[in-house]
Each structure stands twice: as C-alpha cells, then as structure tokens.
Amino acid sequence: MEALIKKRIKQVLKGDQSAYGEIVEIYKDKVFQLCFRILGNRHEAEDMAQEAFIRAYVNISSFNIDLKFSTWLYRIATNLCIDRIRKKKPDYYLDAEVSGTDGLTMYSQVAADTILPEDEIESLELQETIQREITKLPEKYRSVIVLKYIEELSLNEISEILDIPLGTVKTRIHRGREALRHQLRNV
C-alpha cells in the first residue's frame, strides 16, 4: 500500500496530475471522516477535505518521500480544521476554556442533562448525539480523540500529526475521555 502511494507520488512529482487522482481516491473517506468528526458539519468537512488534498498536491515537492504519506496528509487536514474552528469561534462558547484552569470548560459547570432534555435525546439519532458531543469537546481534545478512536491511530502517530510531544497527546486523550465520560454517561 505504502509502496503504491510512493510510486504515485513520484509520478505526480514528474508532472503526471492524473496519478494524484488515485491518491485522492485511496484517502478521501479517511480524510473526509476526519474533517467531519472534528467539524461536525458535512458541508464544511467537504470543503476542508478538498482543501487538504489541494494543499497536499501544491506542496507535494516538500513531502519527504521516506515518511508515511497518510501522516503528512492527516496533519494538513487536521490543521485546516483546527484553523477553521478557531476562526468561527463565537465570543461566548461553552467549549471555551475557563481561564487559568487548563482544559476546564463551561460544560463542566453545567449539569449534563440540562444541555439535552431526556425526550430530546430520544428523538435524535444516537449517531447525531454522539457527533454533537464530540463537537462540543474543546478543539485540542477533539482532534486527539478523533485521531485515536475514529481514525484508530497510535499515540506516536498522533504526536507526529499534531506536532506535539507524546506526553501532551496522552494528557489530552485523558482529558478528552473524561469530558466524554461526563457528556455521554446519560446517553
């Protein structure tokens, strides 16, 4: 698989644009899923996923062929999504960290069942509920949780994708799991 990707990348470097189509075909679902789970919106996810593939294409000559292409591609996609979240962040946001608490958000100040009344939960698809809860996570926990539990990547790879130390990845996964435990325990 990696060998095939490398062959296609070499073709793209030689100017064969159509070889890139095959790369997009192989990774489109993973990248779209990554963007969708982080952003929680299909339309935005499609925009960001397309943008990620275009940026990867434009910068393909800076890709180190000895590394894993998927790691590099996920990194581009994750960064784009994180930027998007930061740009559209409204002034008051329950996910915003309470200053000086490192990771504590307003959600931890609100009882879980007041966010979603019992009957509303029942009327929603379970999938949507879960996605909503993921989207409620602060962006730095959301990206690690999605990379770990939806893309099923190793802690080391997550550390590479997000360009943060392994210890920080672990801390964020712990805190993200804690937040999800809190949010999903009544589902």
Binding site: L13, K14, G15, Q17, S18, Y20, G21, V24, E25, K28, D29, V31, F32, Q33, F36, R37, R42, E46, A49, Q50, F53, I54, Y57, V58, S61, L126, Q127, I130, Q131, I134, I145, Y149, I150, L155, K170, I173, H174, R177, E178, L180, R181, Q183, L184, R185, V187
Partner: protein
C-alpha cells in the same frame, strides 16, 4: 473504603495500554471491590464505545472529481521549475556560463586602462611597451590596451589585448604570440586560458 491515589490515572493508562503490571493488578483488585470506581470505569469505556460506534462515513460522491478540477493547472513555469529541479547539473552549468559571459563582458567594457606585466628591462613609452634591442626578457608578457614593440628577445609567450604587436626585424619571441582585439576573441582567449589552467591542474 478509601480509593488509592491515582486510580483514575491508572484507568486511563489501562485504556491506552500503557499501564505497568503492578498498577494493573492494583487497578483490577480495586475495581472488584469498589462499585464507585467500577461505575466510573464503565462510564469511560462506554464513552469510548459510543465514539467508536459512530459508523464510518464516506466522502460525498464526485469528491475526487471535484478535487481534480480544483487542482492548479500545470503552468509552463511550473514545468520549467520542475525541469530545473530535476537537472541540477545542467542548471548549474548554464548558470555558470551566463555568469561567466556576463563578468567577462563587463571586464572587457570596464578594462580600458593600460597595464603590462611587470618585467625588468621593459620600457614603457606612450602606451607602447618596448622590449629594447639587445635585452632578453625571461618570462611571459601581457599588454592590455597598449602596443608592444619587440626589438630584443622574449623567452616566453606574448599576449597583446586591445593593441598591436610590432615585431622589429631583430626581435625574437620564443613562445606564442597572441593579439586579442574583439569581444569574441577576448572570450575565446579566456576560455582557452581557463581550460589550459584546468588541464594543468589535472596534470
């Protein structure tokens, strides 16, 4: 019953498969006896299971076509750049030639001052260098922007750039005589000189 310190940390380490054996034993033993921690641990596991249960979604149809349509068109410049990147040696060679020609031309244009190789016994008179009769110059002579009149003997090469070489009947040059007057001659002279130097380096 008091829960051990760090029991929640152990739970997370367990979920990341990063727990050491001792702590794992401690965690398992504790969970068997403490319903509160057991519940907490189940809530964590449940949250993970729910997140993982979100079915895998697929990219919208025509995704690949849309990406391909939005890719920047290969422009000529891109092609040229790529060619440069893939032929570093040729790029370096052509760059070298361009710079060499440029610097040679500029020295040709700038260099209108009279100069001559320093040799004892040479007489300079109104931009004319004279090798006096009966004298023997041991070594090469290069005259720039001036004439050379050889009445004596030169044991070496003579080069006159932008000037004339007059030979008296008694004059004698043992080496080569070169007179360079045109730009192309000038460049040709430099190329020959450089390659001669190169050859002598390799020898």
């Amino acid at each position: 019953m008091k829960c051990p310190d760090n029991i929640v940390l152990y739970m997370h380490e367990y979920l990341d498969e990063e727990i050491d054996e001792h702590d794992e034993q401690l965690l398992k033993k504790h969970l068997q006896t403490c319903p509160k921690c057991q519940n907490y641990f189940h809530e964590l596991e449940k949250a993970i299971a729910l997140v993982q249960s979100t079915s895998h979604i697929q990219a919208p149809s025509n995704f690949t076509e849309n990406v391909m349509a939005r890719l920047p068109k290969e422009r000529k410049r891109v092609g040229v750049n790529r060619w440069f990147r893939h032929h570093p040696l040729l790029t370096a060679a052509s760059l070298f030639i361009i710079l060499m020609t440029g610097s040679l031309l500029s020295t040709w244009n700038k260099d209108h001052e009279f100069s001559v190789t320093k040799q004892p016994d040479l007489v300079v008179h109104n931009n004319t260098v004279i090798v006096p009769e009966g004298k023997v110059i041991k070594g090469d002579i290069t005259v720039r922007n001036g004439d050379l009149q050889v009445e004596g003997k030169v044991e070496g090469d003579v080069t006159v750039i932008n000037g004339e070489n007059y030979m008296a009947s008694a004059g004698n040059v043992t080496g080569e005589i070169k007179v360079v007057n045109e730009v192309f001659d000038w460049i040709w002279y430099h190329i020959k000189k450089t390659s001669k130097e190169l050859i002598s380096v390799f020898n």
